[in-house]
């Protein structure tokens, strides 16, 4: 089987799997209800002796943290008020009353490390948390990033068996974007790894074919990274209420990654001489790869910025439900096949372009 035929067969399989993914995402994968998340996404403000909390997920710290105290209980965490600004903006813009902020009451139990404090939190119609925990009091200059919180009310969507076993999604339907967003991001990482590999092989062997593979993979990587970057903010707007967060390490490092590989393509387009182009872009392709682990690991290892971006493959707890796991598995296979198919085709085009360049050079040489 020659390359073109192989690409055609792979393309057919990939498209079928993509269609299957779309169907599974819409009809098979369950709307997510529970998972484990880290403490973040707090919208809070001091209100008298209490604290208003909105849109957070919970976390339990190993030890009580003294910066915040409750009436009768010691609580936990440090803080980031970036979300508080979003909350204030929402209040200012009058968005608290639209769908994202629509509220309905639900009884919850707020639990500190040592004691339990009953309170009342109101959940949004589309599941954002919004309400007042009257028993908490902020210390001076301290903020809250998370509360250990257990839903005990009767709600058809949110039920947590323990404080660390549920998560609040403000937009569970939009979460299905994930089934295309994550595989796109995954394939872009694979593509950039291909560029790294091919660039290294080019440096070692000076064989032009590796340059073709490197450039083709980079172009596809940019395509899939663009898809991931375009779909992510649509989900973020539904889930977080904002399209983008410049203080989120995952988002920023992925954006840098995207810019770096756009730069790679621009570099290639600006160098005329084939040998120089291959050499320079191979070096760039190797150095530029540093942005891939930065982006890949930023949601897990981000001491400076922190990230609210979900971590899909958790080392402990959480994870995906079987239906969601199956769907994402099919999606990853579909996108990977699609990438391989497109890469084969793109390399063929690169070969044809080089043949054309060669032909033009030979004609030019004969004429001169």
């Amino acid at each position: 089987m020659n390359k073109s035929r192989l690409a055609l067969v792979l393309a057919a399989v990939a498209v079928m799997l993509l269609l299957l993914t779309a169907w599974m995402a819409l009809y098979y994968a369950p709307i997510p209800q529970t998972s484990v998340k880290s403490a973040d996404k707090v919208l809070s403000s001091i209100e008298g002796r209490g604290i208003r909390v909105a849109g957070f997920v919970c976390a339990r710290l190993p030890e009580p943290h003294p910066v915040v105290e409750t009436l009768g209980a010691t609580v936990f965490s440090i803080a980031d008020f970036s979300d508080f600004r979003n909350y204030q903006d929402a209040v200012t813009d009058g968005r608290l009353n639209d769908t994202w902020w629509t509220v309905r009451p639900l009884d919850v139990l707020v639990r500190s490390m040592n004691e339990e404090v009953s309170s009342k939190v109101i959940l949004g119609a589309n599941l954002s948390v919004f309400g007042t925990v009257s028993s908490l009091k902020l210390g001076p200059n301290s903020n809250v990033t998370g509360l250990s919180l257990e839903v005990s009310g009767s709600d058809d969507v949110l039920m947590g068996t323990s404080a660390s076993q549920f998560d609040i999604l403000t937009a569970p339907v939009a979460q299905k974007i994930f089934y295309f967003h994550m595989p796109s991001a995954w394939v872009s990482y694979v593509a950039f790894f291909t560029t790294l590999l091919a660039s290294a092989l080019y440096i070692k062997t000076r064989n032009q074919k590796y340059d073709r593979w490197a450039s083709s993979a980079a172009e596809l990587g940019v395509l899939f990274a663009t898809i991931a970057i375009a779909t992510g903010p649509i989900w973020a707007k539904e889930e977080w209420g904002v399209y983008w967060r410049w203080n989120d390490s995952k988002l920023v490092t992925t954006f840098i990654l995207w810019l770096v590989y756009i730069g790679y393509l621009m570099l290639r387009a600006s160098v005329v001489d084939q040998g120089t182009r291959a050499r320079v872009s191979a070096v760039y392709g190797i150095i530029g790869f540093i942005t891939v682990p930065m982006s890949l690991l930023s949601a897990r290892v981000a001491p400076l910025l922190g990230s609210s971006h979900p971590v899909v493959i958790a080392t402990q707890g959480g994870g995906l439900s079987p239906g969601a796991g199956m769907t994402i598995g099919v999606a990853v296979i579909a996108f990977t096949l699609l990438y391989i198919t497109m890469l084969i085709r793109r390399v063929e085009i690169a070969e044809a372009e080089e043949e054309l360049e060669e032909l033009k050079r030979s004609i030019g040489g004969e004429e001169s």
Binding site: T99, V173, T226, E238, R345, I349, L356
Partner: protein, 49 residues
């Protein structure tokens, strides 16, 4: 956005349009290169004769 389904469909559209637009772009690019190669070869052939 008015509701999450709108967001979902917009995101899905971006994926499909993005992928198929690139496939079409590759097809056009391949055709253009092939055509140019063919033309040049014809020119070279005539020149040779």
């Amino acid at each position: 956005m008015s509701n999450s389904f709108t967001a979902l469909y917009i995101a899905y559209s971006i994926v499909w349009v993005g992928v198929f637009a690139y496939l079409v772009y590759m097809h056009i690019r391949q055709n253009a290169v092939d055509r140019e190669i063919r033309t040049l070869k014809e020119v070279v052939g005539k020149h040779g004769q």
